[in-house]
């Protein structure tokens, strides 16, 4: 196996000063939602970390996740991808194509057997393998083949994590998530449609820094980012508590920035870091721009009722069913009264 330099060595070789390295570590700590007191430990870890090989597989997806990642503002995309990790296969980003690309993938797998990371975006069609293929290989075969020697798998985006849009009812391709198929490897889900870029890089930085996957919640999501609901961390929360709600998208409440609960905000049931990390280099997030949270980082968010239907709305049966129940009630009532009266008559006769 050829010598792999440590991250510290790489950065120094590129003329990054110690101050620059400290800055890098501070932003990494910030990214990992670790307290600033952890910076020295992070510095030490990163100094000695060896760049991992990363294989990126894209299945039934829209490339939105890759788009999102390449706009990641931290520490720098180039710095992360080209310096800290070795992105050996990504058919959208890499220059190689066709057999050459597949050869690169196999080479990376062989070289880093047992140590490489597999990143997956997109869901896997189980209905018919022909729905989605790369170089003539079905998504399923490619996934199962690639993860064999992986240290861990990161499912990027809601499609890879939970099936996402392709898996939405009626799920014509029989789309499934990575965790539905891969059972013997540690899996980190980074859902979102797309996921927050910083969260994606943070997971990589975490793996890079500590060589292991972060603590996860019940849906396999990193707790550091998915530990709180949008609602819990939303700056509009005080309006919710005060009972001030926007009733439509253009009323006074909406203009005053009141709570969007009544407009269908899924913030209370959605675990993600949008409210703190925000988007577009920390500029804003959907609620801040006046739109309710869609809950895109939750399993099957497409099928959980309308985006603009408030969370506490119930789904009652149709009016016909209720009318049917009423008719049944009348029938039962009549029968009960009739039975009672029959008993009364019988007893009167016997008495």
């Amino acid at each position: 196996m050829k010598y792999k330099p440590t991250v510290g060595e790489i950065l120094r070789a590129r003329g990054v000063s110690r101050r620059g390295f400290l800055k890098y570590c501070a932003t990494t700590a910030s990214l990992l939602a670790l307290p600033p007191s952890m910076i020295p430990r992070i510095a030490e870890a990163i100094e000695n970390a060896r760049r991992p090989s990363v294989i990126w597989l894209s299945f039934q997806e829209c490339t939105g996740c890759t788009e999102s990642l390449t706009r990641s503002a931290s520490p720098t995309v180039e710095g992360l991808i080209f310096d800290a990790i070795s992105l050996d296969y990504h058919h959208t980003l890499q220059a190689a194509a066709g057999e050459q690309a597949e050869a690169a993938r196999h080479a990376a797998m062989e070289e880093n057997d047992g140590n490489y990371l597999v990143l997956v975006d997109g869901s896997i069609p189980m209905g018919n393998p022909g729905y989605s293929t790369i170089a003539g290989i079905s998504n399923y075969d490619m996934l199962m083949d690639t993860v064999k020697g992986a240290a861990a798998v990161v499912a990027i985006g809601s499609c890879a994590a939970f099936g996402g849009l392709p898996g939405a009812n009626p799920n014509p391709t029989g789309a499934v998530s990575v965790q539905d198929l891969v059972k013997d490897k540690p899996i980190v889900n980074v859902p979102g449609c797309p996921p927050i870029p910083m969260v994606m890089t943070a997971v990589l930085a975490q793996f890079l820094t500590f060589g292991k996957i972060p603590d996860l919640d019940k849906h396999g999501r990193p707790l550091a980012f998915f530990g709180n609901t949008i609602h819990d961390r939303c700056y509009r929360r005080p309006f919710y508590e005060q009972g001030k709600f926007a009733e439509s998208f253009d009323d006074e409440g909406a203009k005053a920035g009141w709570c969007l609960y009544k407009l269908g905000c899924k913030g209370p049931t959605t675990y993600n870091a949008c409210a703190t990390v925000k988007w577009n280099s920390g500029t804003s997030f959907p609620i801040e721009s006046g739109h309710p949270c869609l809950g895109c980082s939750e399993p099957r968010f497409w099928d959980k009722g309308g985006f603009y239907q408030p969370l506490s709305t119930g789904h009652f049966g149709s009016g016909t069913k209720l009318a049917g129940a009423a008719v049944a009630g009348v029938a039962l009532g009549v029968a009960a009264a009739a039975a009672g009266r029959r008993r009364q008559n019988k007893y009167t006769k016997e008495a």
Partner: protein
Amino acid sequence: MSQVDEIPVQIEATHGNVRPILNEVMHALDKLLDKGITTTIDLASLPFAPGELNELEATFGKGELSARLDALGTSRIRETTYPGVWWIEHRNVHDEVVGRYLEVTRLPEILSSQDADIMAGRARLGEQFE
């Protein structure tokens, strides 16, 4: 972008992050004076309402000292009007903010020349005499 900027933004109420931060800074200053312990507050971890960050920055204001660091993008390190309280903002090479911190210390560590860099510089200097 001028059209977007023209949209009037109303800010009716804030999340109220400013006062708790001021309070935390006050206690951090006590710790610095009594025990010499420094404190760093990562502002990225707090849910700020629109405009609230500006409010916070304005509250702390500009003090006597201000420095600019050029490493992996620029960083601004500025003492606030409260001596011992530093406002630190890291940017990447695209000039995007990647981290904001309030550091309560006599001098932020990142301003000191680092041993590794001193050694590297010393080595370069030595090369002149070879």
